[in-house]
């Protein structure tokens, strides 16, 4: 469970109860989602305004560190809610001081929330990270690229006399060929996933082995087709690429409502 030291008290009023908001859904009745909230399984319930509801749990007024434990707690609630509802995820760590402040959010952002909920109706997100094995890719390039193969053979044959320049030249050619290969793989994968997804968004790659870090928005009815397509592609690239495939997620990367919020003192 989440220990007290995993959160840092922001103020000396840490004992005051606040409302941690996980997501916004469309529901005109009060709902309970069980004791699954952030901070040792707090009770998760809704705060309602007209036909909108914020899914919340009680929390001390603290700043939650984005530790794996805390982030997983946040995501677990959203996954649970997602089984029944289309949802707009709130960013991690959003806390309001009272139910009234939460209602003020639902009221002031009513139209934007409604529009986005309509747009996201029955849409889910999948994450796809693709890493390559540098050695296998280089081997494939040396096998398929005549110019590189010839230059490499030459350097190996005349190991003693081959110049620094020739080695530099080989290095440059391999680098260029790798970049070209990376683009080719990524484009091909995007192309193959196009007709089973609604949209995609690429984020910055993490580390030097990753060539794709993308999120795909998928219609629930296409979930199986998307799934099967990803599996087929990962088989196709089995020897070269490693696929990290996650989901379904709420549409974290496809909802962008800039809320006008200020610090509540």
């Amino acid at each position: 469970m989440i220990a007290a030291e995993s959160v840092s008290a922001a103020t000396d009023s840490a004992s005051i109860e606040g409302k941690y908001v996980y997501c916004i859904i469309r529901n005109d009745r009060l709902r309970e989602f069980g004791e699954i909230g952030i901070g040792s399984g707090a009770r998760v319930y809704t705060v309602n305004h007209k036909d909108l509801a914020a899914v919340v749990s009680d929390t001390p007024i603290v700043i939650y560190d984005p530790t794996r434990e805390n982030v997983l707690a946040h995501e677990f609630v959203n996954e649970t809610v997602m089984r029944e509802f289309t949802l707009i995820p709130m960013s991690f760590g959003t806390i309001f001081r009272s139910e009234n402040d939460v209602r003020a959010l639902l009221n002031s952002t009513y139209q934007a929330f409604t529009d986005v909920l309509d747009k996201m109706q029955d849409k889910i997100e999948f994450g796809l990270k693709i890493l390559w094995d540098r050695d296998s890719v280089v081997a494939a390039i040396e096998r398929d690229n005549d110019e590189i193969r010839r230059l490499k053979d030459e350097i190996t044959r005349n190991a003693a006399s081959s110049t620094y320049f020739a080695r530099m030249q080989l290095g440059r050619l391999v680098e260029a060929a790798m970049e070209e290969a990376s683009n080719r793989y990524v484009n091909d994968i995007h192309e193959q996933l196009k007709d089973v997804s609604v949209a995609s968004r690429s984020s910055k790659v993490i580390g030097d082995r990753m060539i794709l870090n993308a999120a795909f928005l998928v219609d629930r009815k296409d979930e199986k087709a998307f799934d099967e397509r990803v599996k087929a592609i990962s088989l196709q690239y089995e020897d070269l690429l490693t696929f990290k495939y996650t989901g379904p997620w709420p549409p974290y990367n496809f909802v962008n409502i800039k809320l006008k919020l200020e610090k509540a003192t």
């Binding site: 840092s8 922001a10 606040g18 007024i61 603290v62 700043i63 939650y64 560190d65 984005p66 530790t67 794996r68 960013s91 991690f92 760590g93 959003t94 806390i95 309001f96 001081r97 402040d101 003020a104 959010l105 002031s108 952002t109 934007a112 529009d115 986005v116 990270k129 890493l131 910055k204 993490i206 580390g207 990753m210 490693t242 990290k244 962008n256 409502i257 800039k258 809320l259 006008k260 919020l261 200020e262 610090k263 509540a264």
Partner: protein
């Protein structure tokens, strides 16, 4: 100070101006560095990936995550000192209301 004073005192003031300008610039660079959490978040994502790929074990993850959380908190403290916005903590709807979409 008039133009004349500037000219008369130029040899003395010159280096002082120079120093002040440099300090301001250094100040800004240091401040940007102290208040930017982007590289820390990238480190956190890289760490998570290492765990997912089985390159590090759970203990190692927990240890390094604690270091990263410490750095994040330090950036937050600096941002508060400089009066910059921070994420997390209690919020409410701003007076001006209407959100951008």
């Amino acid at each position: 100070m008039g133009l004349l004073t500037n000219i008369l005192l130029a040899p003395f003031l010159g280096p002082v101006w120079g120093t002040r300008w440099t300090l301001e610039k250094v100040d800004r660079v240091v401040r940007d560095e102290l208040t930017d959490d982007t590289p820390i978040k990238e480190d956190l994502m890289a760490l998570q990936l290492q765990l997912e790929m089985g390159e590090i074990d759970d203990d190692e993850y927990v240890r390094r995550e604690a270091e990263i959380m410490k750095r994040l908190r330090e950036v937050r403290e600096w941002r508060e000192k400089f009066g910059m916005s921070t994420s997390g903590g209690p919020v409410r709807v701003a007076e001006s209301g209407e959100p951008d979409q």
